[in-house]
């Protein structure tokens, strides 16, 4: 028989090994589903791998997919560090997308438009995140529930916008008018969709790490998350730290939406985000709330997403497998985290 026993210390290499372990376990578990769907496991994973990382175009596609999840992953990681339970990155992303689309549609010089899109999009995300944070700070409303529910509010507001005032009168489709051509983000490699927003996302990760690890605000966020009582006694304005964290987190999620509008879709439609905000939670957990870890974690999920579509075409396994892999990865990581605090002991066998 096996039993869990509390660990007295956690080896440092655990932090690196656990996410990989979780991913391996996930792939093994999901291979069962592939087999049930009637495809060869090796073949299916092979197609996934080559379609996501097999050639330079595939790699750029994976990077483009990863960018929004790097942003939402950072948003969630920073919020969770302060124990501000922001489950609302999806809504904040959508708010950022709508706001930047509105700005991008105004004729003005391209660089100015892009700058304004980023600023306004980030601000929109920040304002949305401020709602659950304020409710929690002022009225003790549970932030998990309020930030989650706000996602639906924002989504239906977006739908109302593209079904109503923004509706394309020419085609009748529920899509917003496109942004100005001059506001389209520059593409880095001709013939790919690799846009400048991807680079911004890759730079944002170390910046966020620096913020958390090396600034007084980051110190306050860490201490507030671990022990708000000691933080208050130590002279930290806990409420202000929570609000600042929310602003930061919402702004990052908003930037995910900006990148999708400026670099990928150039307009807003109902499926602009296939749940990138929720994937951000998976990214943050796989990264163990370390901003630097958000990059590899987002790349993994992006590879799964791009790969799953190709696998579906090639083997007939439904592309939904990508969602299953994501969900399983989150569960596997949560179980893996248990092993930082506990270990398994064999008991009772010999008497």
């Amino acid at each position: 028989m096996f039993r869990l026993e509390a660990r007295t210390s956690t080896p440092a290499w655990f932090n690196l090994v656990l996410p990989f372990l979780a991913i391996v376990v996930t792939l093994i578990l999901c291979s069962g589903l592939i087999a049930v769907a009637g495809a060869g496991v090796i073949e299916a994973y092979g197609v996934m791998l080559s379609a996501s990382l097999g050639d330079s175009y595939a790699i750029t596609e994976t990077l483009v997919r990863a960018a929004p999840m790097i942003f939402t992953g950072l948003a969630v990681a920073i919020a969770f560090r302060a124990k501000f339970w922001n489950i609302g990155a999806e809504g904040q992303l959508l708010a950022g997308a709508v706001a930047s689309c509105a700005v991008g549609a105004i004729p003005m010089p391209g660089y100015l438009a892009m700058l304004l899109m980023a600023l306004v999009g980030a601000a929109a995300g920040a304002i949305v995140a401020l709602v659950p944070a304020t409710l929690r700070v002022k009225f003790k409303v549970d932030d998990v529930v309020s930030s989650l529910l706000l996602n639906s509010v924002i989504y239906y507001a977006l739908m109302a916008l593209i079904e109503g005032p923004w509706k394309d009168t020419f085609s009748g489709y529920p899509i917003s008018p496109p942004i100005e051509d001059s506001a389209n983000f520059p593409v880095l490699i001709e013939g790919t969709r690799l846009h400048i927003g991807v680079i911004v996302a890759l730079i944002a990760a170390p910046l966020c790490w620096f913020l958390i690890a090396r600034t007084t605000l980051g110190f306050q966020i860490r201490v507030t998350g671990e022990n708000p009582e000691a933080a208050r006694y130590g002279g930290i304005n806990v409420q202000r730290v929570l609000l600042s964290t929310a602003l930061l987190s919402g702004a990052l999620a908003g930037l995910a939406g900006v990148g999708e509008v400026g670099g990928v879709h150039f307009q807003v439609m109902s499926d602009i985000s296939p749940g990138y905000g929720y994937s951000g939670i998976v990214v943050a957990m796989l990264a163990r709330l370390n901003p630097l870890g958000a990059v590899p974690a987002a790349l993994f999920l992006a590879a799964v997403m791009t790969g799953a579509e190709a696998m579906s075409r090639a083997t007939g396994v439904p592309a939904f497998l990508s969602d299953v892999i994501q969900g399983t990865a989150l569960l596997a990581m949560l179980v893996a985290l248990l092993f930082t605090a506990y270990r398994i002991r064999r008991v009772g066998a010999p008497s």
């Binding site: 007295t8 007084t216 671990e226 022990n227 000691a230 006694y233 002279g235």
Partner: protein, 517 residues
């Protein structure tokens, strides 16, 4: 499971085997040997004292017995039979109950519901009536009564502890482990606890009692085991006829001399409270409290706990803005009550609760040590931390205060109580405060660590710092203080000079019977 079995080889040929026997227990945490070849036994009806300095390994040994840690070596025998204890359920099944220093209760549930947690009922239903009958029986047998329908959140700390004891008995404990039970009790509550423990022992229960207060150990226990650096340093067979000094020497390996208190001439007032009243606080509010402490003076605040001491500490440390009255620090009137503002005026603060208010147990020790001043020039510039300075500061303090730990980056929660207190003291004293407010400064500390803290206070007093010590240990207050103020129902009932104050006189004032300005 009575001891009609063969007595195992190696045990002495006693008529009845001991209730519990631990043999050769060794347990290491990394490089730290918390327990090394420890032997210990408890007979039915015996109260065993377990003594030792902070970090000597008492809690670890008891956690091994209770199944929280697996020992690296050694065995545990219950009534002569070797038994494997892998978790608290195994321990409870073997008749071992433990009252931890931090209680494990569900605050929203009632007393009865807490007792019934984890007890399988009949066919999936909870047996409330049966539970109620047992609570009442346990209560009347040992004088441990509690209203079974009260929610735990409405209980005082002493009552929660009583509930933990009842819980252990409820689950059939025949050996009860109490880890520093008196550290959280007011002196008046200690008598009630001791009466209950004696009654349990008289009925054949074995008890292991951990405390740093040697007079309690002498009054209660039948026998003592002393640990030092994880090993058994000695045993005391007749605690009642052994002096505290002898026990202290066994614990520390050398004699503990009380610090000498030089006479001092206090200077001008460094902290003045004038007509301070509060409201909106969980405990007793303050009602027009006026007091002062002068440079080079120690003011003791005595009183039965719950008479406004918490509010007083919170006001002075900036956690609770008063709704009337003024406070001045070094001649400057406090405009805004916040920890940061008061700190800037030269106030040092050491909170009553080290773990919840003082430190961040999951982060490195260095972070806790710079927490209140991380925004100052010493540790950051323009919002950017200076990690090298933070580390160097923590390392210097670890050295200066002999804080026993693997280094500044260790999790603060891994330190023992005495070392945590030293860390808190170090972080405040490093900045030469003009005024220092401390609550229960030596709660849970061994004699040596307590002496160290006392010496630091007296040295600060010598350097002209004004110190307020809020405490319940009257002997400690009498030894340290130049003046003692007594709090009663949120007011200062009176202030005595060090020469006038005696335990008897203070005791009388604490009940509100005598006032003296």
């Amino acid at each position: 499971m009575l001891s009609s079995n063969v007595v195992p080889t190696g045990s002495t040929l006693a008529l009845s085997a001991p209730l519990i026997e631990m043999r050769g227990i060794t347990k290491s945490f990394g490089a730290v040997k918390a327990n090394e070849a420890v032997d210990l036994s408890v007979a039915p009806g015996e109260i065993l004292g377990l003594l030792g300095e902070n970090g000597a390994g008492k809690t670890t040994l008891m956690n091994v017995l209770f199944g929280a840690y697996a020992p690296d070596a050694g065995e545990i025998l219950v009534e002569g039979r070797p038994i494997a204890i892998h978790n608290s359920a195994d321990a409870l099944a073997a008749g071992i109950g433990m009252v931890h220093q931090h209680f494990h209760l569900a605050p929203r549930l009632t007393v009865l519901e807490n007792l019934l947690i984890g007890i399988p009922g009949k066919s999936g239903r909870i047996d409330r009536a049966g539970g109620l009958a047992r609570v009442n029986e346990i209560g009347s047998r040992h004088g441990l009564s509690l209203d079974p329908n009260l929610p735990v959140s409405a209980l005082s700390v002493g009552e929660q502890q009583r509930l933990e004891i009842i819980k252990a008995l409820f689950r059939g404990a025949r050996l009860l482990i109490l880890d520093e039970p008196t550290a959280v009790l007011a002196p008046s509550e200690v008598d009630g606890l001791f009466a209950a423990l004696r009654s349990m022992a008289a009925q054949g229960l074995g008890i292991i009692f951990i405390s740093h207060k040697l007079n309690e150990v002498r009054a209660l226990t039948h026998r003592c085991v002393v640990l030092r650096h994880g090993k058994v340093a000695g045993r005391v067979d007749h605690p009642a006829s052994t002096t505290s000094a002898e026990m202290a020497k066994l614990m520390c390996g050398h004699e503990i001399v009380p610090p000498t208190k030089e006479p001092s001439t206090p200077g001008a007032s460094v902290l003045t409270l004038d007509g301070i009243s509060t409201s909106g606080h969980a405990g007793t509010p303050l009602r027009e409290v006026s007091l002062f402490v002068r440079a080079g003076e120690i003011l003791g605040i005595a009183g039965v706990s719950g008479n406004g001491q918490r509010a007083l500490a919170d006001v002075i440390s900036g956690m609770l803005p008063p709704n009337a009255g003024t406070m001045t620090i070094a001649g400057k009137t406090v405009a805004q009550f916040s920890p940061r503002e008061l700190q800037a005026l030269g106030l040092g603060r050491i909170p009553e609760d080290r773990m919840t208010t003082g430190l961040v147990t999951n982060l490195p020790l260095a972070d806790s040590m710079v927490l209140p001043r991380v925004g100052t020039e010493a540790f950051s510039r323009k919002g950017l931390l200076n990690p090298a300075a933070i580390r160097a500061f923590a390392e210097a303090q670890i050295k200066a205060y002999d804080i026993r730990c693997p280094g500044p980056m260790v999790r603060a929660g891994a330190l023992s109580g005495g070392n945590l207190q030293k860390a808190l003291l170090a972080r405040e004293l490093a900045f030469d405060p003009k005024v220092l407010i401390v609550s229960q400064p030596t709660r849970g500390l061994d004699i040596g660590a307590a002496r160290f803290i006392h010496e630091k206070f007296l040295a600060m007093r010598g350097k002209g710092c004004g110190i307020i010590v809020i405490g319940e240990d009257l002997e400690e207050l009498l030894m340290l203080s130049d003046r003692i103020a007594v709090m009663y129902e949120g007011r200062i009932a009176g202030t005595l000079s060090g020469a006038e104050a005696t335990v008897a006189r203070l005791g009388l004032m604490m009940t509100g019977a005598e006032g003296r300005a």
